[in-house]
Each structure stands twice: as structure tokens, then as C-alpha cells.
């Protein structure tokens, strides 16, 4: 009987520029330092759980931005975990390039970094083989894992890779495609995968189980919900593996995406109050000063109500770690009624509605529904109010 306990994480993206979050320089710097702290918490968890193996399934850092001091800290931190064996499979954001820090750093003895491959590291004491693949470029289109086969079926076999599981033989990916149907044939017991930032369940394909733990610390508004790592244990008796996994949350901050209907609000202050009310209704309210919020204003507002997003955000700024406001409310013109008119307003509304309803190749027209919707509002403001403000 063999037994191995492991911790599986990935997609930490140390030193990421955190674009798309709209953070100020100070907040972004703070957030970057928090990403490093997350790795620290992963290390503590690895020790506390007394795992033998720590898998980092790619995108440990961002090659274009990572600082040497960060790499040095990573090396020290992971090095201190010895005798835990650490396996890093570089991904598309931290490929093992000629001049990357993977190449130029003298890594601690307990750290193994996969380069190209797939290759294998045998751990006779654990009767375990860890297979892995490390990107040597920013893309890997060839499904190189397809033909991989674990040599010793009696022992425990892991595969660590930053790859995209695809369905169907014809499915393509620029990130090390792995056809889900081939997974059972790899002869692995557990695939420690990375690349997908939203955590997956632990999925069983044949005798093999695989999972994306997601990013342990979310990096943007497209990474809502809870984030963490996987702690697992494999027991193999006479070639039959039993795997138990636990999902552990380590994140410091969460991202929330709320939609607030501000219909009926007559003043910016009322809009602010509606946002606060809506936030209170959610679980998000508990920790809002620590978390990221994107609030999209919806509904139909008085056409005379001019909302300046920056002013609204400023009024709420101190209540949130970060608040991004997007105004998608629409002036409450009665389009149905006005659109029936024979006058210009009626014709204009009908034309715009036809444009919105049309299946247009928006990209080709350099337009999108949001633009058309805005144009409709601006046109009505111009025709009915004789003034146009930013909406």
C-alpha cells in the first residue's frame, strides 16, 4: 500500500499588473504583495497538512513583470518547506524561457521545475512518479500529453501541467490541449492541472481524477466567488487508487458583481442610497471594506437625472476596498409609445430599435449594442430635451 498526501495549487500570477481591475497604483501594489502572502499561506497549509508533495500547476508568476526579489522569496519560501517536494509546471504566463528566472535561479533542492517534456521524476521512497510538462513558450498548441503513459501502474502517478482540457478530438487550444477522452488512458491517478482560474470540481475520468483548483487569490471581476487550493491524499492498494480531496479557501479578498436597479431614483443621493441598500442585501456586505465590487446601475431613470459615475463612486469609495461603477441605466423615455409616433422622434426610435434588433456583424460595423443603446438615449435627449450629457 502506498499513500501520498499532496497540495495542489496554481495560477497565482505573482507580480501580475492586475489590469482590468481599475486599481490605482497603490492598491495594485498592495494586491501584488497579497498575492505573495497567499503563497505564504499555501506553504503554511502544506506544512500544517504534512503533505509530501506540493504541485504548482503553472502561472506561478507573470514572466513579463516578475521581480527577481519575488523569485528569490519564492525560492526561499518553497525551499523552507523541505522535505516537502515541490513540483512546478511553468505555464503560458511563466514559461521556462531562456532568460527566465526559472533558468537563472539556483533553486532549492526540494524544488523541481518541469521544462518542456513531458518528463518524469521518480520518488522511490514514496513509490510515486510525478510527470509534468513545462511551457517553454507562451503557447503550446500541440497536444503533447496525448501520448503520455504512466510506466508503473502499481505505484502512484501524478501529472502536473498547465493545460486546457478540451472535449472532442477536433477541439483546439493554444494552451496545451488535453482531450478529456484521453485522460483515462494516461495511466495517471491524479492530474494536477492549472490554467482555468475558476475552480472545478474534482472530476473522474476512468480511474483518473483531475481538477483545476483555480486561482487561490482572485485576480479580476471575471473571478467571482470563492477561491482556494486542493489538499488531497492518494492511497493505492494493489494498483487501485483511492483519492480523497478537500478544497481549502485561502483568499484574502473576494470579487463581487452586483446589478442595482435604480429606477425611481430622482437624485444622485438616492442612487447612492439604492446601491448601499442593494449591497446590504448581499452576503458581500459583511466584508465590503475588504472586497472588490463592480456595481452596474440598471433600470429606467428620469431623463433629467444626470449621473456622473466618478461622483457616485467618490461618495461610496471609503466603504469598499474597490468600487467600480458602470451605468447601464436608460432614460425612462416611453419607447413603446413614442415609437408609435409619425414624427421624427417616432421614426428615430423605430430606426434605432431596428438596428438593435438586427443581427448585425457589430465588429465589422465598429459598433455594438451598448453603443446603439447609448445612441438611442443621446438622440432622444437631443430631440426631446435639447441637451446631451454623458450617459
Amino acid at each position: 500500500m502506498q499513500r501520498v498526501k499532496f497540495l495542489h495549487c496554481g495560477d497565482i500570477h505573482l507580480d501580475a499588473p492586475l489590469t482590468g481591475s481599475g486599481l490605482g497604483a497603490e492598491q495594485a501594489a498592495l494586491r501584488r504583495s497579497e498575492l505573495k502572502e497567499t503563497l505564504g499561506r499555501i506553504g503554511q497549509l502544506a506544512k500544517a497538512e504534512q503533505v509530501e508533495l506540493l504541485f504548482i500547476s503553472g502561472d506561478l508568476w507573470e514572466q513579463g513583470y516578475v521581480r527577481k526579489q519575488t523569485v528569490t522569496a519564492v525560492n526561499e519560501l518553497l525551499g523552507c518547506l523541505s522535505p516537502v517536494r515541490v513540483f512546478i509546471a511553468p505555464g503560458n504566463h511563466d514559461p521556462f524561457l531562456q532568460h527566465s528566472f526559472y533558468q537563472t535561479t539556483a533553486w532549492a533542492d526540494n524544488i523541481h521545475i518541469f521544462r518542456g517534456g513531458p518528463s518524469a521524476v521518480e520518488l522511490p521512497a514514496l513509490d510515486t512518479v510525478v510527470y509534468g510538462y513545462g511551457y517553454e513558450n507562451y503557447e503550446v498548441k500541440v497536444p503533447v500529453l496525448r501520448d503520455l503513459r504512466a510506466a508503473n501502474q502499481q505505484g502512484i502517478n501524478f501529472l502536473v501541467a498547465h493545460c486546457q482540457v478540451v472535449s472532442g478530438g477536433g477541439a483546439n487550444s493554444n494552451y496545451l490541449p488535453l482531450d478529456q477522452q484521453t485522460i483515462p488512458h494516461l495511466g495517471m491517478d491524479y492530474l494536477a492541472l492549472g490554467h482555468v482560474h475558476q475552480a472545478s470540481k474534482v472530476i473522474k475520468s476512468g480511474d483518473c481524477q483531475w481538477a483545476y483548483p483555480g486561482s487561490p487569490e482572485p485576480l479580476g471581476f471575471d473571478e467571482l466567488g470563492v477561491h482556494g487550493v486542493i489538499v488531497g491524499e492518494i492511497t493505492k492498494i494493489q494498483g487501485q487508487a483511492q483519492i480523497s480531496t478537500t478544497w481549502v479557501t485561502l483568499q484574502k479578498r473576494r470579487y463581487y458583481d452586483l446589478r442595482v436597479d435604480i429606477s425611481g431614483a430622482g437624485t444622485p443621493e438616492e442612487v447612492v442610497a439604492l446601491i448601499q441598500e442593494r449591497v446590504k442585501e448581499t452576503e458581500a456586505a459583511k466584508n465590503r471594506a475588504e472586497d472588490f465590487y463592480r456595481v452596474t446601475l440598471t433600470g429606467f431613470i428620469d431623463p433629467d437625472l444626470v449621473l456622473v459615475e466618478q461622483e457616485l463612486a467618490l461618495a461610496l469609495a471609503d466603504q469598499f476596498f474597490q468600487l467600480r461603477l458602470a451605468n447601464q441605466s436608460f432614460p425612462a423615455y416611453d419607447l413603446e409609445r413614442l415609437g408609435k409616433g409619425l414624427d421624427l422622434v417616432g421614426v428615430y426610435i423605430r430606426k434605432m430599435q431596428a438596428l438593435l434588433a438586427l443581427e448585425v456583424n457589430w465588429e465589422q460595423k465598429d459598433l455594438n449594442q451598448e453603443v446603439v443603446s447609448k445612441a438611442l438615449a443621446y438622440g432622444l435627449d437631443a430631440l426631446l430635451k435639447g441637451e446631451v450629457h454623458r450617459r
Binding site: A16, H99, A106, D343, L355, L376, Y378, L383, V388
Partner: protein
């Protein structure tokens, strides 16, 4: 549509008041503050309520507050009207908290409210259905206020020439292009253009769009610059990671510094590159030279001095030993020479004898003067005898020793040559010249080797210095990496800002384009009908003198004379004619907008106050004529209208007077 009666339960200054209207012209008289505006507002409130039209959500007009009843609780009332021969009664409670509207058929009392479902504002749209106009359009087309009534008045009142007709022309243009005289295509396009100009374009450097484009360009440039710098530093970092190995290899002499330095490159070595490179090249040259003498690195050069001495001595000896022939030819001379040398060099007895004699003589002379001369003689004899004896012995031996010496020298020479031979054999060279050549090569190897070591030591020291100095570059690398992330963040924000502005621009341009298109469409569909109607109106009003009105781009209104085809400015027509035209136009437009349902009332709100009697008389006569088809509600605070109407129609036929009275 004709309003027959209304009952005001409570509205503004009115409480429990009832009014009945005639089908034609109704003169509603009351001095200021007697409730004329309130009455008009009540009519609108009964028909349309107090909610803003054209909106999806309930938003109240200011009348909801300003028209709250002065007395009592009731806020609302009843209005009865007739449309296409059917009478309707509308009852409305305007209180926000108990808002209610009911519509009944006036004759049967059947409730019709359910026929008109509530809209999103919770408003029943029966008036729109019956009249074909919403509140705004109803107000705009049927209600004429003082400022709008007198087109000719403006001309006659001394205003800028043509200003009145220009306004009328503008309204006509609006009608032709938008179907609504208050909605101006040009104004709409202007305000869209104003907003576009606020955003600006790339050509306007002080405007947000150009500033954001500049920001994006600047951040992109900075980003590229930082990336290049960082890549370079990473390459150097990569090269530097080789220095430890390089130092070790240089120390063992197992690597070519040129190769090592090429990997490091001038970036890493910075200011020392040139010097280091020269040394490395020298090293390369030496490495070739050293190969040539490599074989002699263990050549036994330690015999060099001995060999040189030996060979010098051997040569000397060789020179000293007389050659066999020479010895035979010059024996005597040599013998004498050798004998002299021997006698001088090898007669110590003789010298000692002379010395003893001299010293003895001297002592005797000092100590024993009488015996002086005897002593001198004695010692002199002894000395001479001794000297002669010595000289004689030496001459006897001379010839024999010369031969011995030669043999001895020969032996020594042989020994020397033997030693030389042995040493050369140890060195593995055939002769002294080859030995010396070997020595030179050995020394050259030693010299080159020493120089190589010096260069290696020097290069090592440089590399060690570079390594320790690299800490600064690492700091720079860290800073650049951080700045890169920051600039990336800034660029991201600038790009988002630019995308928003671009989207704004696109939306504004799309709106403007679509308004133009829609305007053309309206103009195409609506303008011909409107123009035909206007043509008929002007034809009727001018009794066939003119039959078309045209508006040019400069808002000049001209009428066409059918006979001559000439265009005459509308302002050249009499002021009365123009006023008639203006009022008639409203009715015509209302008819057009309601799809020819016709019969809309014309509400004139105290609009002839500034008119002189003659002109007022002219328009009232025309209104009486119009009132045969349309109900007219003429509000006035002066009795003048009543008097003129009475003069025009003494039997009070065709019009009705309602006196609101004082202090209502």
C-alpha cells in the same frame, strides 16, 4: 374633440366649481390671478394626469405640487368631452396616495376604464387614444401662449425685421423635418455636436479624447521602453548566472575567457568591457602561442648555467692545451716561457731564502751594529746560494712538468665534455644549441603561463566585482518590473477611458446620423402633406392670391404668387394675414398629426394683450370663422376681446363668454 363641461372638486384656487363650454369660441374672461392658467392646467390634468409623458416610470410634473387645492381635501374633479360624436366623462382623483382615474360613457354611464389598460406609469391612456396626441404634443399644437400667437406682432412691434417670420419659418421647418414644431433637427444635431466637441477628436489636443490618446501613446511607448530594458536586464541576469561557473572555470584555466565574456556581453561588464576584451584577446593569442611551446613545459632548463660554464671551461681548456704540431715546433720557447712561469710561480724556497736573509740582516743591523757588516755578508751569501739552488732545480724540472700538465689538461677537458654530454642526454637534445633553444621555449612557456594566470586573475577579479556590482542592476530590474506593472495598469486605465470616449463618440455620431436619416424620412413623408395643407390654408386666407409657402435654408418664409410664379416674403403680407396663417397652421398640424381625425380645440392663453384693436378685431373675426369647425378656448384678462366680439357679432352667436370673476 370638444370639451363640454368640467367640474372642479378641488384644484389650485378652485374648489367645487363647474364650467360649461360652447362648441365654438369660448371667451374665458378673468382678471389676473382669477385662475385662467389653473383652468387650463385642470383640463390637461383631467385628460393626462400629472405624470410626465413619454417616460416609463412615474415621474410627476411640478403641477402635482403647485396645483394642490388651496381649500379642502379634494384634489381632482370631472371633465366631459365629445369625440367623434361620443360623449365621455373622466373622473380623477389626483392625490398621489389614492390616485384614481375613471372613464365613463357620458350618456350611458358605462365605465370604460378597463378598455384602457394602465401603462408602466399606472396611467390609462384614453386621452391619447381619443385625441391622437400625448400631453406634450397636445399642449404644443393646440395651446397657444402669448409669445407664440403674434408672428406679425413681432414685426410690427419693432423687433428685428423678419424675426417673427423667421420663428414661424423655424417652426415650419421643424414641422417639416420632425413633425413637431418644438423639436428641431438642427438643435438636436447641434447639441450632439456640442457634446462631440466636448469630447473632442485627435485633432483637438486640449480635449479629453486627444489627451487620452496621448496618454495611451505615452504609456505604450514607456511600456515598450521598459520591456526592452527589462528583457535586456533579464538577458544580462541570465548571462550573469554563468559568471560563477565562469569564475570557477577561469580559475582552473579550463575555459576560454573570450567565450565566457561573449556570453556576458558589454552590458554586464559595462565600462570595463573594452579593457577586459583586450585582455581576453591577449589571452586568446597566448593560448595559440602557448601551444607552440607546450611540449617544453618540463624541459630541464636547470642545467643551463652548468652547461654554459662547462662548455666555456672546456673551450678554455681546449684553447690552453697545445695542439700536437704546435708543441713540436716551438718546444724551447714554450719551455722557457713555462720555465719562467714556473720559476716565478713555483720557487717558494728561493723567495723564502731572500726574505730570511733580508730580515736577518736588518735585525743584526739594529741590534748589533759591530756585527752588522759580518751579518750582512753572511746572510747575503746564504741568500745567493739558496737562490741559485732554487733556480737550478726548477730549470731541471721544466720540461717534464709541461708534458704532465698537457696530459692533465687533456683529461680535464675530456671530463668536462663527458659531463656536457651527460647533461645534454638528460635534456634529450643533441647539442648545446638545441638545449638552449629548448630552454628558451621552456622559459617562453613559463612566461606565457604566468601571463595567462595573471589575465585569469584579472578577469576573475572583474567578474567578482561585476557580481557584487550586479546587486544594483538587480535593484534596477526589480524597479523596472514594478514600474512595468504600474505602467501596464495606467495604460489599461487609459485604454478603458479611450474606449469609453470612443464609444461616446460612436454613439453620438450614430445618433446624429440616425436623426438626419429619420428627418429625411419624415420630411419625405410628412412635409408634402404639410405643405399641401399649408398651401390650401394660405390660399384660403389670401383668397387665392398665394397658394404655396416655402422656407429656405436661412429661415426666410416666402409665398408663391400663382400667376407670376414669383416668391414674395411672407412678411410683405399684412400682419393680420400672417397671424391668421399662424393660427390656422396649428389646427392643420394637429389634424395632420392626429391622422386627420380633426376637431381638436384651439386654446389661446391670454395671447393678444399687446395687440391693437384693429389687429385684434381681424384675428377674432377669423377665430369666429374657425370656431365653426373647431372649439376655441380663448383665455383673456381684458374685456377688450369681449367687446370686440360683441361688436363683431352682436347676437352673441357662435361664441360663449365665461366670466371667472374676482377673488375666486
Amino acid at each position: 374633440m370638444k370639451i363640454t363641461s368640467l367640474y372642479i372638486k378641488g384644484y389650485g384656487c378652485f374648489t367645487d366649481r363647474e364650467f360649461h363650454f360652447g362648441e365654438g369660441l369660448n371667451l374665458i374672461y378673468g382678471p389676473n390671478e382669477t385662475g385662467k392658467s389653473t383652468l387650463l392646467s385642470f383640463i390637461l390634468a383631467m385628460l393626462y394626469g400629472h405624470k410626465k409623458p413619454g417616460l416609463k416610470r412615474a415621474s410627476y410634473l411640478e403641477e402635482q405640487e403647485s396645483m394642490l387645492p388651496w381649500q379642502g381635501e379634494a384634489f381632482g374633479g370631472t371633465l366631459e368631452y365629445v369625440v367623434r360624436g361620443v360623449g365621455y366623462r373622466v373622473q380623477r382623483d389626483l392625490h398621489k396616495d389614492r390616485e384614481r382615474v375613471e372613464l365613463f360613457e357620458a350618456v350611458t354611464g358605462r365605465e370604460l376604464s378597463g378598455d384602457f389598460p394602465q401603462d408602466s406609469r399606472r396611467e390609462r391612456l384614453f386621452a391619447e387614444a381619443h385625441l391622437g396626441l400625448n400631453r406634450d404634443l397636445f399642449l404644443r399644437t393646440t395651446c397657444v401662449r402669448q409669445s407664440q400667437a403674434g408672428v406679425a406682432n413681432k414685426q410690427m412691434g419693432g423687433a428685428e425685421d423678419g424675426a417673427g417670420t423667421s420663428e414661424l419659418a423655424a417652426r415650419l421647418l421643424n414641422l417639416q423635418s420632425t413633425g413637431d414644431e418644438e423639436v428641431s433637427v438642427q438643435q438636436a444635431l447641434n447639441c450632439l455636436q456640442t457634446r462631440l466637441e466636448e469630447i473632442g477628436s485627435q485633432k483637438a489636443p486640449s480635449k479629453p479624447y486627444a489627451r487620452t490618446v496621448l496618454k495611451v501613446t505615452e504609456f505604450t511607448r514607456r511600456l515598450t521602453e521598459l520591456k526592452l530594458k527589462r528583457d535586456k536586464l533579464l538577458q544580462n541576469e541570465s548571462a550573469l548566472s554563468l559568471t560563477k561557473t565562469a569564475i570557477r572555470e577561469l580559475d582552473s584555466g579550463s575555459t576560454d575567457p573570450l567565450k565566457c565574456l561573449k556570453k556576458l556581453g558589454p552590458e554586464v561588464l559595462a565600462g570595463q568591457w573594452q579593457r577586459v576584451w583586450e585582455f581576453a584577446q591577449r589571452w586568446a593569442k597566448i593560448s595559440i602561442e602557448i601551444k607552440g611551446v607546450q611540449a617544453f613545459r618540463e624541459f630541464p632548463g636547470e642545467y643551463r648555467d652548468e652547461l654554459l660554464q662547462l662548455t666555456a671551461r672546456a673551450e678554455e681548456l681546449d684553447n690552453e692545451i697545445p695542439k700536437t704540431d704546435e708543441f713540436k715546433q716551438q718546444p724551447k720557447a714554450n719551455a722557457i716561457t713555462n720555465a719562467k712561469a714556473k720559476s716565478i710561480g713555483y720557487s717558494p724556497i728561493l723567495l723564502a731564502s731572500v726574505l730570511v736573509c733580508c730580515v736577518g740582516g736588518a735585525l743584526l743591523a739594529i741590534l748589533y751594529t759591530p756585527w752588522f757588516w759580518i751579518g750582512v755578508a753572511g746572510f747575503g751569501v746564504v741568500a745567493v746560494v739558496t737562490a741559485l739552488w732554487a733556480l737550478g732545480g726548477s730549470l731541471l724540472q721544466n720540461n717534464r712538468s709541461k708534458e704532465l700538465d698537457r696530459i692533465e689538461q687533456q683529461i680535464r677537458l675530456t671530463q668536462l665534455n663527458k659531463r656536457v654530454g651527460e647533461l645534454l642526454q638528460v635534456a634529450g637534445v643533441p647539442d648545446l644549441e638545441a638545449y638552449l633553444s629548448g630552454c628558451r621555449k621552456r622559459y617562453a612557456w613559463e612566461e606565457l603561463n604566468r601571463e595567462t594566470k595573471q589575465i585569469n586573475e584579472y578577469l576573475q577579479s572583474i567578474l567578482v566585482a561585476v557580481q557584487s556590482g550586479w546587486a544594483e542592476r538587480v535593484k534596477e530590474l526589480n524597479q523596472i518590473s514594478q514600474e512595468l506593472a504600474e505602467v501596464e495598469g495606467e495604460l489599461d486605465k487609459a485604454n478603458a477611458e479611450l474606449a469609453t470616449l470612443s464609444q461616446e463618440r460612436a454613439a453620438l455620431e450614430l445618433a446624429a446620423g440616425c436623426i438626419r436619416e429619420a428627418s429625411e424620412e419624415v420630411h419625405r413623408d410628412f412635409a408634402p402633406r404639410l405643405n399641401a395643407r399649408i398651401g390650401r390654408l394660405i390660399n384660403d386666407i389670401t383668397q387665392g392670391r398665394y397658394n404655396q409657402v416655402r422656407v429656405d435654408g436661412s429661415l426666410n418664409l416666402r409665398v408663391l404668387t400663382p400667376e407670376t410664379g414669383s416668391l414674395v416674403p411672407l412678411s410683405s403680407l399684412s400682419s393680420g394675414t400672417v397671424d391668421q396663417f399662424n393660427l390656422a397652421l396649428r389646427i392643420a398640424v394637429a389634424d395632420l398629426l392626429t391622422g386627420g381625425q380633426g376637431g381638436l380645440p384651439l386654446i389661446l392663453d391670454d395671447c393678444f394683450g399687446q395687440w391693437d384693436d384693429e389687429r385684434l378685431s381681424g384675428i377674432l373675426a377669423y377665430l369666429l370663422e374657425m370656431a365653426q369647425d373647431n372649439q376655441i378656448l380663448l383665455f383673456s384678462c381684458q374685456q377688450r376681446e369681449g367687446n370686440i366680439l360683441a361688436a363683431l357679432n352682436p347676437r352673441e352667436q357662435g361664441y360663449k363668454v365665461l366670466n371667472l370673476g374676482h377673488n375666486i
